[in-house]
Amino acid sequence: MIDMIPENGIPTEPGAGRKRKILVVEDEFVNREILNAMLEPEYEVISAVSGADAETVLRLRAGEISLVLLDLNLPDRHGLDILREMKEETRTAKIPVIVLTSDKEAEVECLNFGAIDFIPKPYPIPKVVQARVRRTIELSEDRDLIRDTERDHLTGLYTREYFYRYAAQCDVYNPDVPTDALVLDVNHFQMVNERFGKQYADEVLIRIGRAIVALVGASGGIACRRSADTFLVYCPHLTDYPAFLDAIVTAACGDDKGRIRVRLGVCAEAEKSVEMQTRFDRAKIAADTVRGSFTECIAFYDSAMHEKEIYAERLLDEFQAAIDGKQFSVYFQPKFDVRPEKPVLCGAEALVRWIHPELGVISPGIFIPLFENNGLIRILDRYVWRETVRQIAEWKRKYGRTVPVSVNVSRIDMLDPDLVGTLRDLVTKGGLAFGDLHLEITESAYTENARQIISTVNELREIGFVIEMDDFGSGYSSLNMIATLPIDVLKLDMVFIRSVFRENGNLRMLKVIVEIAETLSVPMIAEGVETAEQLNTLREMGCDMVQGYYFSPPKPAADFEKFIGDRLPTGKPANV
C-alpha cells in the first residue's frame, strides 16, 4: 500500500492519505492523455512510453506501484512479454496488471498470463475505467493482506485460522472424499532447539513443511503449522501412515534420522458432520498417547479414546453441579504409628471420592488428572480442605482429641498467591490449630518451580502447618535438593512400595530411602502397605508410620470414627 501509517498509528482510510501510483504503459500519446484525464483526480499516474521505459520504472519503483495498465502493442516489446516477466520476478509479481487491448483474442491469453482484468479499446466511459481500476487495487490490497496473515512466515504453510477455513472448504467441494485429520508433533522439540541451535531447529520445521506439501499437496491435501512444532494436515485418506511419517522424518533430518522423533496422531476418515477442529483435537489426543514412547510413533483416534473423551467431557460439564450438590465425599484413610509394638492411630489422609448419582463411585484416578489439566482442581481442593477442617473440628468436639488429617495441595495450588491466606483463614475459622491440618505436596512440584514453592512452603511452616512430601520415590528428586527442602514428613510413594516388594531385589533401595529420612531427621510414612510382610519389613527397616489397605481402605467419616473411638487414647488396632 502506498498510504503511510501516520505517527499516531491509526491507518488512514484508503485514499485519505497519499495517492496510490499507477503505471500506464502506452506508447500512444493520445491514449495516455485520455487515461491520465480519467485517473489523475484519484491517482498519481506514472507514464512509460515503451517496454524499456516500463522495465526501468518497475526496477526502480516496484514497491510504490499499486497497478499497471499495460498496452500490448509497444514499439520495442510485446506487452505479453512484459507481463510474463513481471509475474516471474518476485518484486513485481504481486502488482496487479490490467491489459489495454482492442484485440478480443488477446484477452484470454492475457488473463492466462496473470493479468487481472482488461480494458478494451476504445476505452469505456471514464466511470467504468475508474471503477475497474479502483476495484482491482482494492482486491489486490485485500489479497496482500490475506497473503500476509494466512501463511506461517517460517514454513509457508497456512496459519491455523485459515487452515481450518480452507479445510472446511475442502469438505464443501469434495463431500464424498474420505479424508484424514493428522497431527504431527516433534518430540521434545525444545531439546532440538537447545542441542542443535535455533537455526537447525527452524530448518527442520521448514523441511517438515515442505515434505508435507510434497506428500499431500498433489492430492489436494493442505497443511498448517499450528504452533511451534505442531503441524496439522487435512488430506484425502492415506493408506500407509508409516511410510508417510518416515518420508517426513527423512526429509526433516536427512542422514541424521535419529536426531528428531515425530509422532503422528490420526483421526482417519472422520464423519464430515464432526466439527473440523474437533477432528484435529482428536488426532492430537491420539498423538499425545505416544508422546513419550520410543517404540510407537503413530496413534489412531479410536472408539475407546472417543468414549473416554465423551466421559471426560461429561465429568467436566457436571463438575460444578457435583460441587453444589455435595456429590464429592471426603474419605479418610488412617495412618498408623508402627514404632510401638502395637500400631497406634496417628492421623489420616483425606481422599476425595465422587459419588455420582448415575455413574456411581468415580475413581479419583480418573477425575483428578482431568481437573488438574484445566484448573478445576483448585475448586475441588478447597472443597476437600473445607470438609476436612469441618470434620477434624467435629471429631475434636466429639472425642476431645485431635486426629491430624493431611490434605493434598496440588501443584497449581502452590502457584496461587493467596494460598497461605486461604489455608490460614480456613483453619482459624474452623477453630483448629495449624498443626492439625497436614499439607501433602507432591515431590515433583518441588522440582518444577523450586524457588517459589520453597518460599511458600517456608511461609506455611512458619505459621505452623505440617508439610508432608508426597509421592517420594516416584519422581527424580536429587538427594542434594532433598537435604535443603523444608519438609516435616517424607511420604514414600505407594507405587514404589509395591514395586519394591514385587521385585525382591530392591529392598536395599528401600533401606537407603528410609535411611535418607533418618538422616534428614524427618519421620517417614509408607503408603500403600497391603500385607503383613510389607509391614514387618518396613518396621524392621525403621519406617515410622504406615498407611494402606493392610489397616484399612479410605472410609467415610462415620466409618472412620470407630478407629478414633477404639484407639484413642489407648490405641489398640483391632485388625493388627
Binding site: D27, E28, F29, V30, N31, E33, I34, A37, M38, N73, S102, K121, P122, Y123, I125, P126
Partner: protein, 113 residues
Amino acid sequence: MLTLETLRAFGANVEEGLQRCVGMEALYLKLTDKAIRDPAFEELREVAEKGDLDRGFELAHALKGVTANLALTPLSVPIGEITELFRNKTDTDYRPLVSAILQKRDELLSKAN
C-alpha cells in the same frame, strides 16, 4: 482550428469522444489535433506502396486505437477495416484503401489548419 462543430460536421461522435476526455473540451480538441497530425498516417501510405503488411498492421492498429478513443468515426471505421486486412495478411491492393483514409484525415486537417 478544430471546434466541436467542425468535428460534428465531419461525422465524429463528439459526445462519446468528449465523455472519454472526462468532458474536457480543450483536451479533446487538443488530442484530436494531435491525432490527425500523427506521422503514422504518412508512413501508412509508404508501407501500402511497399506491401509491408506487418508494419502496416502495427501502424493501422495504433491509429485505430487513437481514432476510436476520440470517436473520429469516419476515420476509425476504415482504419479498423484495414487493420483486419493487414492482420490477416489479405492479398489486396492497400493503396486505394489508405488513400481513402488519408483523404478523410486531410479533410479534417484542412479544418485544423
